[in-house]
């Protein structure tokens, strides 16, 4: 009975903001601010790109999708050409839908401007091979040739923006969003050369935050989005600089998370009080 009541409390706590669509301001997260600044400082010249790994599927879509959205929105706004790809086979659907949705939203927001497939971004699809593939990618002298074809089977060389990408030195930013363990490490370990290591930012689920912090501390990672809270603060920064940016839905999700955190803390306190009272009773008895 006790357990069922806890389940009910949690479900109601998460459901209320989503059903009534109300939101609270997100909390400031230093790691997300750093990441915003890192992407803001990226200077991509001709033939230079950002690689965005979307290594997530249905399981962590609730946390990772908002992160992928804010990163791509920022890169699109800055007109940095993006190659989206994944080490996770179940990411195929998000590789197609997220950049297209962001492009469509930006086009709606700014009539007359366009973000088109093949110009603003290209989808290199699922890349099998893990560490081996990552080493080959880092060693490739021509990334367009390495990828060969996009997810639709069209050669990279057919898209002028991505026709002659050059080697790893042309990758000005690597962004990786995942909830999986061991996927992000592959990039840190192998996507580099002895004389070049691209700027790396990462979006992770709440569970993997502690692991990501060791790379943030060692400066191998230049920016971090911590779960939905990180994405919410990032979207707030985007909104401050681009007031027309839409982040209402994300803030509603973040509010559900804030309330669930409060409930969780109340449950910890309640659990301790109940435990203390029971212990007293049993010692008295």
């Amino acid at each position: 009975m006790e357990r069922r009541l806890i389940y009910l409390i949690m479900i109601v706590a998460v459901a209320i903001p989503i059903l009534f669509e109300f939101s609270w301001a997100p909390s400031r997260l230093v790691s997300a601010e750093r990441m915003y600044q890192v992407i803001e400082d990226v200077r991509a010249g001709e033939g230079e790109i950002a690689l965005v790994w979307l290594d997530f599927g249905p399981g962590t879509i609730a946390e990772n999708q908002p992160q992928a959205e804010v990163i791509l929105e920022h890169l699109f706004r800055r007109r940095i050409p993006v190659v989206v790809l994944s080490q996770y086979q179940l990411a195929e659907a998000v590789l197609n839908s997220i950049p297209a949705d962001i492009a469509s939203r930006l086009e709606h927001e700014m009539p007359g401007q366009s973000w088109r497939y093949g110009e603003a971004w290209i989808n290199a699809g699922y890349q099998p091979g893990g560490a081996q593939m990552m080493q080959n990618l880092a060693a490739a002298e021509n990334l367009s040739k390495y990828f060969g074809r996009d997810v639709n089977g069209m050669p990279f060389t057919h898209y002028p923006t991505f026709a002659a990408l050059g080697g790893i030195e042309k990758v000005k930013l690597v962004a990786e969003v995942t909830g999986l363990v061991g996927v992000f490490d592959t990039i840190i370990q192998f996507f580099q050369k002895s004389d070049y290591r691209p700027t790396l930012v990462h979006g992770c689920t709440s569970i993997t935050i502690p692991e990501a912090y060791i790379f943030l501390d060692s400066k191998q990672l230049h920016g971090l989005l911590e779960g939905i809270a990180g994405a919410a603060w990032y979207s707030e920064l985007l909104k401050r600089n681009h007031p027309e940016s839409q982040n209402d839905r994300l803030l509603v999700r973040n509010t559900a998370l804030i309330i669930s955190h409060l409930v969780l803390m109340m449950l910890i306190v309640a659990g301790n009080i109940v435990g203390f009272v029971r212990a007293r009773r049993s010692s008295d008895g």
């Binding site: 389940y7 998460v14 609730a62 969780l264 803390m265």
Partner: protein, 361 residues
């Protein structure tokens, strides 16, 4: 040791030796040995071998669950559901992919017009290429012919879609954009055809550059319409229903259970009984409060709320960056050493008992 076991062990050892040698030897030696030049192909070969696991998994599923269905073993209906879902998803995904591939090729054919026109201009400016390609008049003739055939095809498509178009505003806008781009392109193409360009002087080059701009716009408009069409095909919709409507939701539902389990665990297991558990609980509460510190501002707690808003994220950051990082580094170092040992054991086939006939025997 049977020959199969021997072969597996030899291949495993050689695979390991290859990567060890590649890592240790300097690049100049690798080049001399011809390894560097072929490394990408060799490692792609290893990736292909790894990718075969997908096929192997598929066969395994079919054999395992197929046998269950054929012999009506316990839970055969679940196996049938799995195999039917597999077959349906496989078919729909393939059909959707083929449709999208066709759409991409059609788009590409239109985009080629602008690129070809642009190439004619650039080749004419490059003295080294000018003599290696057909004459300007020949190439422009081919460009006009190809452009006219594509324009006719698109005009036919616009007219047929116009007649059958429903009230979708966004699709009508895309169709209107294509119609305008098509008319502009036709004007440019007719101008080029009537001027009978034999060489590219200043004036003619301007005409060609104008055509490039018109063709690029046409390519963009056609691409937008076809991509929009692609999302409306039967297989794209079916894929959306199966993947977004079913698979994503089921996956998210599975993960959402974690939230309620954590809540129950917080209540039942997070009890302060020792100094260590008190420290752990304090750290957890501070990290959570640091993540939702804006709540203190909303509660209108005056200067206390403002201080908490400023102070808690800093403490959270310190907890994650210092004690947490120290502990995690130790864990990862330990795991790394263990991983290395396991890799060496696998390389030397000490771990591969499952391939050995001794075990089976």
């Amino acid at each position: 040791m049977d020959p199969r076991t021997k072969l597996i062990r030899i291949v495993t050892l050689l695979g390991g030796v290859y990567f060890l040698v590649y890592f240790l030897l300097p690049k100049s030696v690798l080049l001399q040995l011809g390894i560097q030049q072929n490394h990408e192909s060799i490692s792609n070969g290893f990736i292909v071998v790894g990718a075969m696991a997908i096929g192997l998994g598929l066969i395994n599923l079919l054999v395992g669950h197929g046998a269950k269905i054929v012999f009506k073993r316990a839970g055969w209906s679940n196996s049938a559901a799995l195999l039917i879902a597999l077959a349906v998803m496989f078919f729909v995904t393939c059909a959707q992919w083929v449709g999208s591939l066709q759409s991409s090729y059609d788009i590409r054919e239109v985009q080629l017009i602008g690129e070809f026109a642009s190439r004619i201009v650039s080749d004419d400016q490059d003295a080294s290429r000018r003599d290696t390609v057909p004459s300007v008049s020949q190439r422009i003739g081919a460009l006009v012919g190809y452009g006219q055939s594509k324009a006719a095809f698109m005009r036919q498509m616009v007219e047929s879609q116009d007649a059958s178009l429903d009230s979708q505003e966004s699709r009508r806008a895309l169709l209107d954009e294509l119609r305008i781009a098509l008319n502009e392109f036709q004007v440019g193409l007719d101008g080029l055809e009537s001027s009978r360009v034999a060489s590219l002087g200043e004036g003619n080059r301007a005409v060609m550059e104008d055509l490039v701009a018109r063709a690029t716009r046409l390519g963009g408009a056609y691409s937008a319409l076809r991509q929009s069409d692609q999302t409306l095909t039967l297989f794209s919709r079916l894929y959306g229903v199966l993947y977004d409507g079913l698979f994503v939701q089921l996956g998210a539902a599975m993960f959402s259970l974690l939230g309620v389990y954590i809540a129950a665990a917080a209540y039942r297991a997070f009890r302060v009984k020792t100094v260590e558990s008190a420290l752990m609980m304090s750290a957890a509460v501070i990290v959570m409060l640091g993540q939702i510190s804006a709540v203190f501002l909303m509660l209108h707690l005056g200067s206390f709320g403002e201080e908490a808003y400023r102070f808690l994220p800093k403490v959270r950051q310190w907890l994650l960056e210092v004690p947490n990082s120290a502990a995690f580094r130790a864990i990862r170092l330990g795991a790394g050493v263990a991983g290395l040992m396991l890799a060496i054991r696998m390389w030397l086939s000490i771990e591969s008992k499952s391939f050995s006939s001794d075990k089976r025997g």
